[in-house]
């Protein structure tokens, strides 16, 4: 069948009436109910970002409390039970409730604009993801404040986390919190994949996609294949605890190591899921602030994809101390060292781009430079730890704590703060204060290194992680005090950053649509963007869509303005294919999320919650999908 193709012709710019029509079509309904039923990618993205930053701050406070406790030997500021809850909720919040959701939020906010479309492919699914995430995060923190927070670490190994050694409901809270947050990540990832593959502006073939979009695509695919593992394993743990299955009960033929395998099959890719979007932000910032194209675009893309694949082949290096067969351990050592290669390639490309460009040392670039320093240091200790003999020495010591904070704060938080500084004017229409930004960067960078560098030494001197105190004779006191001082310095830096975000929203200098001379289509929208993003849907003819825009660059016309319609393009070359109508604002995702909430919170207490929640969810789903008027394009023969 020969399908109709897009017809070239000339048009006049859209008039005010057309813009008003677009605005009516894409903006959310008025009032509080309208706010609850919003499905616009920018609203949902911002909600993810703001919520996860609140959780980031809360988990940061827990970190400070832990540092106060460890500041001197024999300290009685916190007891062992409270300390266990603290490090568990700190780790779980940072990993599940902050890092993954904040990256998801930024992706949801930016990707549709970067690829020149008006919303994600599945706006309601994304809204559902946000509400489940919110319920899960609040659930974790409410239980923690009620003193029934989880206390077996962010990975909750059995047998410690099993029914025998962790009676009560704390671990059940943890495993259901995982379900909530992973549902949210999976929903977001599926929506991102479909959006990126099917809604790119005409001309934006895969090899012209911005690197941030590539990073989001790779991370989303990793979510799809990694998150099911943690959903499965926490479900098995919950079943062991709730209905007496024996997945991890050694006495009845189960296996505690099976838990570790399944957990780390998720847990290692998780690290990359968190920082690959960060790498995308770094590429965006370096491109614009070096004022040149990135050097080695193809190498960068291949590195991201290679990291995505290799990330699934090294989970066992978290289990070197469990007595696995040596041959298997050697394989995972090799794989763990191999993954340093694509990361190294990207670092070299960034440095080359900076050297070959004319860098502007503004605050976003400073965060990125901080990232390069810290991340390289964390990567190097990662290469150490990939080696079995060193890992056996350093396992479960502060050396590991130092390593993963270098990787995660370096790889996630620094790029994130750089990215927030860079895109803040797009979302708010105002610039952040450069002076406050400088101070917050300096304090955070110095504070970070003063906190975590001494931990390498503490670890090598034998200080184990997850102890609530230590004896004076160990000699660990001074370095711990230094680390605590560093933590408070870093906290002041982060506080200044937040202050800057809040203050500049009202008092910052007006930014205009494109304050940095940006390369991507997101800078072709207004600041803050209108609900429909683009008055005229763009086309691109090369990478860096805005920089390479022709004087007479064609626009797309013929996409309906009176209803929420998107252009669908072909997967590889982004040629126009067809148009599709999106569902509008609705409360259905919220109801479904509440039904999900009843199910999984109920499952902490009784297996019957699955039945009740299943029925509720069924009702919500039917209500969601059942066709409601007004109807259009009726099929010719109606029943």
């Amino acid at each position: 069948v020969k399908l109709p193709t897009a017809v070239p012709r000339t048009v006049d710019p859209p008039d005010a009436e057309h813009l008003a029509l677009l605005d009516r079509t894409w903006r959310r309904p008025p009032g509080f109910v309208g706010w609850l039923s919003d499905v616009n990618h920018k609203s949902i993205g911002l909600r993810f970002i703001v919520t996860s930053l609140v959780f980031f701050a809360l988990a940061g406070v827990l970190a400070l409390l832990m540092r106060v406790q460890l500041a001197r030997p024999d300290n009685a500021f916190l007891g062992p039970d409270r300390y266990d809850q603290l490090f568990t909720v700190h780790g779980s919040t940072m990993m599940y409730v902050f890092a993954v959701p904040v990256m998801e939020g930024i992706g949801l906010y930016l990707v549709p604009m970067m690829i020149g479309t008006r919303n994600t492919a599945f706006p309601r699914l994304v809204a559902y993801g946000y509400w489940t995430y919110l319920i899960g995060g609040v659930f974790l923190w409410v239980t923690f404040l009620l003193d029934v927070g989880p206390d077996a670490g962010w990975f909750a190994y059995p047998p410690l986390a099993g029914p025998q050694f962790s009676p009560g409901k704390r671990i059940d809270v943890w495993s259901q919190m995982i379900t909530f947050t992973e549902i949210a990540s999976l929903a977001g990832a599926v929506a991102e994949i479909a959006t990126i593959l099917k809604h790119r502006a005409p001309g934006m073939s895969l090899d012209r996609m911005p690197l941030f979009v590539w990073a989001t695509l790779v991370a989303s695919f990793m979510v799809v294949f990694a998150m099911p593992a943690v959903m499965l394993v926490t479900m098995q743990l919950a079943l062991d605890r709730l209905v007496g299955t024996h997945f991890f009960n050694t006495v009845e033929g189960g296996d505690a190591l099976l838990y570790q395998h399944l957990f780390w099959f998720f847990g290692h890719p998780e690290v990359y899921i968190m920082f690959i979007p960060g790498l995308g932000m770094v590429s965006s910032v370096i491109t614009v602030f070096s004022r040149r194209q990135i050097i080695g675009y193809l190498a960068m893309v291949l590195s991201l994809v290679a990291t995505g694949f290799l990330g699934f082949g090294l989970w066992v290096h978290h289990m070197f101390a469990t007595g696995l067969p040596q041959l298997g351990a050697s394989f995972f050592t090799a794989a763990s060292m191999l993954i340093a290669v694509p990361s190294g390639v990207q670092i070299f490309c960034w440095i080359a781009t900076l050297v070959a460009g004319r860098p502007r040392l503004r605050v976003p670039l400073l965060w990125v430079l901080g990232f390069i320093v810290i991340f390289v240091a964390g990567g190097l200790t990662g290469v150490f730890l990939a080696s079995v003999p060193i890992d056996l020495q350093a396992h479960d010591t502060f050396f590991v704590v130092a390593h993963f904070h270098y990787v995660l704060i370096g790889g996630v938080v620094f790029p994130l703060l750089g990215g927030l500084s860079y895109w803040y004017p797009k979302a708010t229409g105002r610039l952040l204060s450069e002076r406050l930004g400088l101070w917050s960067f300096a304090l955070a960078f110095v504070g970070f290194n003063v906190t975590f560098f001494p931990m390498h030494i503490l670890g090598l001197r034998g200080m184990p992680r997850r102890v609530y105190t230590y004896l004076p004779e160990t000699g660990w006191g001074d370095l711990n005090l230094l680390a605590t001082a560093g933590a408070f310095t870093m906290a002041v830096g982060v506080l200044l950053f937040v202050l800057n975000l809040v203050r500049s929203a009202r008092h910052g200098a007006v930014a205009g649509d494109d304050p940095w001379g940006g390369d991507g289509l997101e800078w072709a929208t207004a600041s803050p963007p209108r609900p429909f993003n683009f008055a005229e849907l763009p086309t691109v003819r090369a990478r860096y869509g805005l920089w390479t825009r022709a004087v007479d660059q064609p626009v797309v016309v013929g996409v309906a303005a009176h209803r929420p319609e998107l252009l669908v393009t072909h997967l590889l070359d982004a040629e126009p294919d067809h148009r599709t109508e999106l569902p509008g604002a609705t409360l259905a995702p919220l109801w479904l999320a509440l039904a999900t909430g009843v199910t999984f919170i109920g499952l902490v207490f009784t297996p019957w919650a699955a039945v009740v929640g299943g029925v509720l969810a069924g009702i919500a789903l039917v209500w969601w999908f059942w066709p409601k008027g007004p109807h259009k394009e009726l099929h010719w023969e109606q029943p």
Partner: protein
């Protein structure tokens, strides 16, 4: 914003629906299938992994009635692998009558399958809390039951729209997508069935 007349790409003549990988919804369903397939594969991996903890495998037999039920289930599911492509072809042709007919067949087969699975749960000679093998077998049966139940409910809902209307053009794509999802239900179970009910004792212990 420019005030000039400029070249434009007019897409108003392009169709409003497309099937298969051209359709964004197809990618959504593909993502869901990838997620659920990963769950199944990892649960099968758990099954094989736990083999290493036993001398005798399987430690407990199913007995003839359960084996017969499992075979009947597999046959019903295999039969639905013949009705599903007919539904999908009808959707591509836009033939509502054929959609109604074949989708009703698939939905009915799905309902029968779920009923058979329900009876199997009732007569299985062991409960999930007997030992780890029992847990993982119940896990595999339960996960697949959830897949089959949700697939059947989805088929039933789409069938409801096809029978009662109003049937919009875009619902043709929904028919096609729910067929895609049902293929997953079929093909994620048949190999697991073969492994658990027929080939289990041929899995060798690693150690």
């Amino acid at each position: 914003m420019s005030t000039r007349t400029r070249p434009a790409l007019d897409v108003s003549e392009l169709p409003e629906i497309a099937f298969g990988h051209r359709d964004p919804l197809w990618w959504g369903v593909a993502g869901l299938i990838a997620i659920e397939s990963t769950m199944v594969v990892l649960l099968v991996a758990s099954f094989v992994y736990l083999r290493g903890n036993y001398h005798e495998w399987p430690p407990t037999g199913f007995g003839v009635p359960v084996q017969l039920l499992a075979l009947a289930e597999a046959l019903v599911l295999a039969a639905s692998a013949f009705s599903t492509p007919r539904t999908n072809l009808a959707a591509l042709d836009g033939d509502l009558r054929r959609i109604q007919r074949w989708l009703a067949v698939t939905t009915a087969l799905g309902a029968v399958f779920c009923g058979l699975r329900g009876s199997m749960f009732a007569i299985l000679p062991f409960h999930w809390d007997l030992h780890a093998y029992a847990s993982v077998v119940w896990g595999l049966l339960g996960l697949n039951f959830l897949h089959a139940l949700s697939g059947t409910l989805e088929n039933a809902a789409v069938l409801g729209v096809a029978l009662r209307g109003p049937f919009e053009k875009k619902h043709l794509v929904d028919v096609h997508s729910s067929g895609f999802l049902w293929y997953f239900v079929v093909w994620s179970w048949l190999p697991v069935y073969a492994l658990v009910f027929l080939l289990s004792r041929f899995i060798r212990s690693g150690g």
